[in-house]
């Protein structure tokens, strides 16, 4: 398997473990190492079962491995802020799934192509991955003065990290709507719903726009949904965009692939699926540079 790029995951929690299964199916990436710091990690045990080398030495094990070119980090904001400069120095590309946001926000098919020269990219938030493509699609056909999204997720899919940092979600997602979605102003709201059985992640996207052409908006959004479906098969348009005066409303839902996390947690699945897609594009580029792919 020398024709694939060697990659590693640091942070073998729910996200890291789900990501592992996605990378194991990838075309251009070879997962050679998964590291953590806790001995009783289910994620590390599952990695070992899949034949992936594991280590409890966290970042050190990754820095010691010169073959690893891309590192996915799913620890937390504070550890990643520490690890980012070390990874950069070691010449490894970091795909950051934490809220640290050391590098620029990236979303596949929205702006990833602008940042393929960066040593570190950040995956925004689950709400950002789910909604900025839609806002970007609307921005493509009309001026978006204001975009607002409401993300509703199952209580069970929100871990302590999300719960203790809920402001981070609203603030980062709102910024993502502006930076990635090209809205002049963004606002994000998150709601946790404890219903049983757990609800699938759903997002409502509103936009206040100039001179909306409903057909053009519908076409542009449909094209974007098809693109996102390439890496998140459970990403669906729930309510097609419709226009009331200058307001566009549309809704999507995200069902997870059920790799490690349950299907209702589409909010987590879209993060790991997008990170995997980002890694794939970086890996393909690295291979092209070394002449391995045409």
């Amino acid at each position: 398997m020398n024709d694939r790029v060697k990659v590693a995951i640091i942070g073998p929690g729910n996200i890291g473990t789900d990501l592992m299964y996605k990378i194991l199916r990838s075309r251009y990436m070879d997962l050679v190492l998964m590291t953590g710091i806790k001995a009783d990690s289910d994620g590390l045990a599952l990695a070992a079962k899949e034949g992936v080398a594991t280590s409890l030495k966290g970042i050190d094990a990754i820095l010691e491995n010169e073959h690893v070119r891309i590192v996915f980090e799913s620890t937390g904001a504070k550890p990643h802020a520490k690890h980012a400069p070390l990874l950069k120095e070691a010449g490894k590309i970091a795909v950051d799934l934490t809220p640290a946001a050391v590098g620029p926000y990236v979303v596949p098919y929205v702006n990833l192509h602008e940042h393929l020269d960066k040593p570190n990219v950040n995956m925004v938030t689950c709400g950002g991955q789910a909604t900025t493509p839609i806002v970007a699609a609307i921005s493509k056909v009309c001026r978006v003065r204001y975009a607002e999204i409401v993300a509703t997720i199952a209580s069970k899919s929100a871990g302590p990290g999300t719960r203790q940092n809920i402001d981070e979600f609203t603030q980062t997602t709102a910024k993502g709507l502006e930076v990635l979605g090209k809205a002049e102003k963004g606002k994000a709201i998150i709601i946790l719903n404890p219903a049983e059985p757990p609800i699938i992640m759903r997002d409502t996207i509103y936009a206040l726009v100039d001179d909306p052409d409903e057909d053009a908006v519908r076409r542009s959004v449909a094209e974007m949904v098809a693109k996102v479906q390439n890496y998140v098969p459970g990403y669906r348009l729930k309510v097609e965009p419709y226009v009331d005066a200058d307001k566009v409303t549309t809704m999507i839902e995200v069902e997870g692939a059920g790799d490690y996390l349950p299907k209702y947690s589409g909010n987590l699945d879209i993060m790991t699926a997008a990170a995997c897609a980002v890694g794939e594009v970086f890996a393909e580029k690295l291979l092209r540079e070394q002449g391995a792919v045409a």
């Binding site: 209580s155 709201i189 719903n193 404890p194 509103y206």
Partner: protein, 345 residues
């Protein structure tokens, strides 16, 4: 009043939080003007109301497409009210997931002295940071559990304890859907009173015409603080009508510190002239209480039912069955569109 002297609540002190300028925003479609708020607040202050809550109906930063844009910014409202009051404390409401810690800091700068941090009744831990920050900023930290008809008392105790541990000095239960009956209120307040060391509060909605009765049940069960709004102005069929509640509590000998005549005057002379419609229980708001749906869905459901030509009562029942929680106004549109498709595929 002698016939009431055997009641154990005689001479008890109960604190009052007025939410005309917060829950009332729902009934006003968030179009209160800062000067109107100042006039209402001045009248409440003169009547001796302890705390006056001012915010968008959905809390600070609630101004949005989802909930409705407000006529002024949070800062403008708070500034106007803070200048108009002398003795009353200025309070705010914040729903984590909508407002953030930055909004709390902003409110403090504009003179807020009490902060209510509200979460759905099973999600208290998303508000821990905000409760802690309110305390650090010198505001009285108050925890609020919403939609409390949806779970049983033990769950509420577990969640209220999270807020208590985070530093809340008072924990409120809100009957956000106006779906409870007095025995439901009694069981919940009693459970919290016996399990927690901090004060306990209750906030009612009148969708089943139970707001004052439920509030009385809460007081009898030991509630230390209760909410009301002038003329009942609030989401759905409104809240416990403050001037009525004060009269009722006075008859029972409960001390609230609020002057009965002055609070009546505030309702009739200051609030009534600016109300867009009388606060009554119509069929739509009755359905909220019956189906257990968040009261602020009312005006949004009316608009969606009209836009997509479906029966609002069916929309309410479906929203109840889907176990929607506070803030999910977008689900109203989703439900209405699905129903419209079923009717004319």
């Amino acid at each position: 009043m002698d016939n009431h002297k055997d009641l154990s609540i005689k001479k008890r002190k109960v604190a009052i939080i007025d939410t005309t300028l917060r829950d009332g925003q729902h009934a006003m479609a968030h179009q209160f003007l800062p000067e109107q708020m100042a006039a209402v607040a001045a009248a409440l202050d003169d009547a001796g109301v302890g705390t006056i809550e001012v915010s968008h109906g959905d809390g600070l930063a609630g101004s949005s497409i989802q909930y409705g844009f407000a006529a002024a910014t949070d800062g403008e409202y708070l500034e106007a009210v803070s200048k108009a009051i002398k003795k009353s404390k200025l309070g705010i409401l914040l729903l984590p997931g909508i407002g953030t810690q930055k909004d709390l800091e902003m409110a403090r700068e504009h003179g807020a002295e009490a902060a209510r941090v509200a979460t759905h009744c099973t999600e208290a831990d998303i508000g821990e940071q905000h409760i802690q920050l309110a305390r650090e900023l010198g505001m009285r930290p108050i925890g609020v559990l919403m939609m409390t008809h949806m779970v049983e008392p033990p769950k509420l105790v577990e969640q209220a304890k999270i807020m208590e541990a985070a530093g809340a000095e008072l924990v409120y239960l809100m009957d956000s859907a106006g779906a409870m009956l007095p025995p439901d209120v009694k069981a919940r307040i009693e459970a919290l009173k016996s399990a927690l060391g901090v004060e306990i509060g209750f906030h009612a909605h009148n969708n089943l015409s139970m707001a004052v009765g439920n509030t009385l049940a809460a007081v009898e069960a030991g509630a230390d603080s209760v909410d009301g709004t002038l003329r009942g102005l609030g989401a759905g069929a409104g809240n416990a009508q403050l001037e009525v509640l004060i009269g009722v509590l006075q008859k029972l000998g409960v001390e609230t510190g609020v002057n009965f005549y002055k609070v009546m005057d505030a309702a009739e002379q200051v609030v009534e002239p600016i109300m867009p419609r009388a606060q009554v229980i119509n069929n739509d708001s009755l359905m909220l209480g019956y189906a257990g749906v968040y009261s602020s869905f009312l005006l949004h459901a009316r608009r969606a039912a009209k836009r997509f030509d479906v029966d609002i009562r069916d929309v309410m029942v479906e929203l109840g069955e889907r176990k929607t929680v506070g803030g999910q106004e977008d689900m109203i549109i989703d439900v209405a569109i699905e129903m419209a498709k079923r009717v004319k595929p």
